[in-house]
């Protein structure tokens, strides 16, 4: 019965088209083999190797960008879409991978971890993100999502001396697996309705056929949106992100907040704009609601936080709202705004979490707002860079953040979504308050008895905090600080404080790069802006 009708037509594999992914997947294998054959040495060689691999992956993305020009094509039997959008995002992921390796170096030195696992998992995770951005098939989107996420679950648990790290990983894992299952169910229903998982074929099927009873298709689409909405932490699928961002080691948080979100948005572009572009009247309202909720909830909850990593988590939720607003416009301008926002956001958020990793000290313990007081007098350069990054996130002029928000709002206005544009601008104003509050603290005095922030800020906190289930443990942290500490910890931290107060080499490089890019590309916008405008998709 099993007659093989003719030889198998193995598809042609264009290795240049998947070179960034291959580098990001191959380098960890080399590194792991290398670590198995050598015994001595610190984390420096892994960092150097990862940075070299990141540069190589970046150059491969540039090569694809140049080569593909305006003639996108599909590769490996339609599983990969090679266009400037995928090349643009592969470049971003390669940069994020290198910055992560530098941050992870300082973390590994501080926490005395010498193994190659953290950078190796980072590269594997980035390869998954690249696959999501270049996916030409829903199955590839799913596998990229899983490769990225499962590596991130492990990375979140890397700090084995801190219970919160394990809790963060478990929480992320359980909720992430749940959302992956929903996404997979969405793929199955979409396949049931269209007969294919290939994005190009779904698009052509939907363009040439009218699905009369389209309940299955719409249910599949909704599930795809939910699955990816979880990855980009859009409200109401955001509940994991503050806890996970707070509990994970800071370099991992930086990587996760940049790469997982960017990859999620890239996949949303592939799924909604390309595969289901003809159904845009069906998905636009859903994305609209997600965008408004993310902007409002992210903006409000940012202001009432006291833990800086949680604040950045909520602020990145409101950033997600901006990107969703760009996606919602379903236009070429919206896609360019999305690409630009993701690029600007990646650099700003990685730089911000680099500062958080530095201030946090051993085990990322001191993340309370008061720990950031007087940072500028201790480390003027770090304080200055953090100020730039926060102002950039707030959308101050002459930064990439301003241009990013500007293009999102103009894309929304171009689409006629005036309400959304107004909500986005209001949310920017509310979150700017939070960023300025940190900045004021940076330049404030560092006497521990001074109450933090403007006096009016904290008043709504107990009510709001209680209603959303946020912890209130940080109140009175300073009074308890000198009383409850076990003696072991006093001794341990006393020896490490001197070491920590030095800014690590990797952190310095990352901060300098991110802050410089935020300002230089904000003042002289045309290079990145032109790239984002040219980052066209295949259809």
């Amino acid at each position: 019965m099993a007659v093989i009708a003719g030889a198998l037509a193995i598809p042609h594999i264009s290795y240049i088209s998947i070179l960034p992914e291959l580098i990001a997947m191959g380098a960890p294998m080399v590194m792991l083999l290398w670590s198995a054959t050598t015994r001595s040495g610190g984390p420096g060689r892994w960092t150097a190797f990862t940075v070299v691999a990141s540069v190589a992956a970046f150059l491969a993305s540039v090569e694809i960008w140049v080569k593909v020009g305006t003639h996108p094509y599909t590769a490996v039997a339609g599983a990969i879409l090679v266009d400037r959008f995928s090349a643009f995002l592969s470049g971003i992921f390669a940069v994020a991978m290198g910055l992560f390796a530098l941050l992870a170096h300082d973390w590994a030195v501080r926490e005395d971890e010498s193994g190659p696992e953290l950078p190796a998992l980072g590269m594997l995770s980035a390869s998954g993100a690249m696959l999501m951005a270049a996916a030409g098939d829903l199955v590839v989107v799913f596998l990229g999502l899983e490769i990225m996420s499962i590596a991130l679950y492990v990375m979140a648990a890397m700090n084995r001396r801190r219970l919160a790290s394990g809790e963060a990983a478990l929480k992320y894992f359980v909720l992430g697996a749940f959302s992956s299952a929903i996404f997979l169910y969405g793929i199955a229903l979409t396949y049931g309705a269209t007969g294919t998982t290939n994005i190009a074929r779904i698009a052509s099927y939907l363009a040439s056929n009218v699905v009369v009873s389209n309940g299955v298709l719409l249910a599949g689409m909704a599930m795809l949106i939910v699955g990816l909405g979880f990855k980009v932490a859009a409200v109401p699928f955001h509940t994991w992100s503050p806890d996970v961002y707070q509990g994970s080691p800071s370099p991992v948080t930086a990587f996760m907040s940049a790469v997982a979100k960017a990859a999620g948005f890239a996949a949303l572009v592939r799924v909604l704009m390309e595969a289901m572009g003809t159904l845009r009247l069906d998905w636009q309202p859903a994305i609209y609601v997600l965008a408004v909720l993310s902007l409002v909830v992210g903006g409000i909850l940012t202001v009432v936080q006291r833990d800086v990593k949680r604040m950045l988590a909520y602020s990145s939720i409101s950033h997600a709202g901006f990107v969703l607003a760009a996606l919602q416009s379903a236009s070429a301008a919206g896609r360019s705004a999305l690409a630009y926002y993701v690029a600007a956001y990646t650099l700003m958020i990685i730089g911000s979490f680099a500062v958080a990793g530095h201030v946090g000290g051993p085990g990322d313990r001191s993340q309370d707002l008061s720990s950031y007081r007087g940072l500028s007098s201790r480390h003027p350069a770090v304080g200055f860079a953090f100020t730039i990054l926060l102002l950039g996130q707030a959308g101050a002029p002459f930064t990439t953040g301003f241009l990013a928000k500007f293009y999102v709002v103009s894309a929304a206005v171009g689409n006629g979504s005036y309400t959304l544009a107004v909500v986005a601008m209001l949310s920017a104003v509310v979150t700017a308050f939070f960023y300025l509050r940190i900045v004021l603290g940076l330049y404030g005095s560092e006497e521990p008895s001074t109450p933090e922030g403007p006096p009016g800020v904290l008043e709504p906190q107990p009510a709001l905090v209680g209603s959303v289930g946020e912890p209130q443990a940080s109140h009175g942290a300073e009074e308890r600080g000198s009383v409850v500490v076990p003696e072991v910890l006093v001794a341990a931290s006393a020896t490490q404080v001197i070491e920590v107060s030095e800014v690590g080499a990797g952190t310095s490089v990352v901060l300098a790069l991110c802050a410089a890019a935020t300002v230089v590309l904000g003042v002289w916008p045309s290079p990145l802006l032109d790239l984002a405008k040219a980052a066209t998709i295949i259809f």
């Binding site: 009708a5 198998l8 193995i10 648990a157 294919t196 099927y205 699905v211 085990g363 001191s366 500490v485």
Partner: protein, 219 residues
């Protein structure tokens, strides 16, 4: 979702062996399923589950879904039930389980309700022609090639890249297992010297750094 088209060879010629196979397999499935529920010994329950899964595999073969039948036996009967047995053995097979008092009182009526709902749903669907889109790559059952070879062909042509990149998942799983299960090095402080023990009711979002002396204090 695939409609039960009449066999091209003719209904009567196929019906009797088909019917016999179906009756036997269905009897095995039902009897073993009841056995899973009513046996007192959890190991017997697990073994009954294997018999149920074998019966379902036979039904799959009868539906010309050979691949599903093989996967059913390899994955479910082979791997998952063995996992169940591992857990049962690790928890202690000789300890009698107290099932007289139901820990979740709502689950029995809920189970009955959901079971009836599923039956109603299957009956409703069986009477409806559910139109879906284009035909899938594997083709209808009973096509020119068996679905095993169709699936193999799809795996190595259309889905070659997805097939290859699943290996990255395996690598991540291995790295993750090694990293997370690695015993602490000598001299390495483990999670116990974190500032609070997990039993103190610390909730997830609570700031772990609250009792840490701040850097300024020692400056």
């Amino acid at each position: 979702m695939i409609g039960l088209a009449p066999s091209p060879i003719g209904l009567l010629a196929v019906a009797i062996p088909d019917l016999a196979t179906f009756v036997v397999a269905a009897a095995v499935v039902l009897a073993s399923a009841i056995g899973v529920v009513i046996s007192r010994n959890p190991v017997h329950s697990a073994l009954f589950l294997v018999a149920t899964l074998f019966g379902v595999a036979v039904l799959f073969v009868e539906q010309q879904a050979e691949f599903l039948a093989a996967v059913q036996i390899i994955v479910y009967a082979g791997a998952i039930v063995v996992l169940f047995l591992f857990v049962i053995m690790l928890l202690g097979v000789d300890r009698p389980e107290k099932i007289s008092k139901d820990p979740l009182p709502a689950q029995r009526p809920l189970a009955a309700f959901l079971g009836l709902a599923v039956v109603a749903e299957v009956l409703a669907l069986a009477n409806t022609h559910w139109s879906t889109g284009a035909k899938g790559t594997a083709g209808p059952p009973g096509g020119p090639a068996s679905n095993v070879s169709d699936l193999a062909r799809a795996t190595f042509t259309t889905y070659l890249l997805p097939f290859e990149i699943t290996s990255a998942l395996l690598v991540i799983a291995v790295i993750g297992a090694v990293v997370l299960a690695r015993p602490p090095r000598p001299g390495e402080h483990h999670a116990e010297d974190d500032e609070q023990a997990p039993t103190e009711g610390r909730s997830l979002g609570e700031q772990p750094g609250v009792v840490e002396p701040r850097q300024e204090a020692s400056r």
